[in-house]
Symmetry: none
Amino acid sequence: MDADAEIDHDAATPVYQQLAEILRARIERGDWAPGRRILSEAQLVQTYGLARETTRKALRILIDAEILVTVPGRGTFVAE
Amino acid sequence: MDADAEIDHDAATPVYQQLAEILRARIERGDWAPGRRILSEAQLVQTYGLARETTRKALRILIDAEILVTVPGRGTFVAE
DNA sequence: ATAGATTTGTTCGTATGTATA
DNA sequence: GTATACATACGAACAAATCTA
């Protein structure tokens, strides 16, 4: 999945997996350095035109992979 | 929506839309004149028994309609 | 002058209901 | 029937701006 790819609602791959791969690619590309805060859930919802739950499902994948860390009230950060 | 109406959690209309209409009616009735500060979010939460997010969603509708204006640290005001 | 309270702004956490593929 | 996706709603915490004692 390319970092600049857009969400394809008709694709066989679930939307939340697509978003997870897009974000993973953006992090690998260096859009956000380790320790930096990425887009908020609300911003991701707006940017990619998805529901919040779907966005969170994508984030969950990267959190489980220890690529991201979330901090309540602060945001979501690239793991260091 | 009447200015004295109460929130109906079982109605088809979302709660935040109900509150927006109640507040719109109260403003039209003259509960607060243009330029005056309305209830704070915390007071609205208490008065109508809603979550803050729901209250803010109602306010957002009236802000987008240019009926209300918010000022950080000061409050929410009727547009002039 | 500053410490605390108030108020809006932002953010993640959780749960439920509905619709669709 | 299950997984996916969206919308709504409540909860909790942190932050910044403003006002007051």
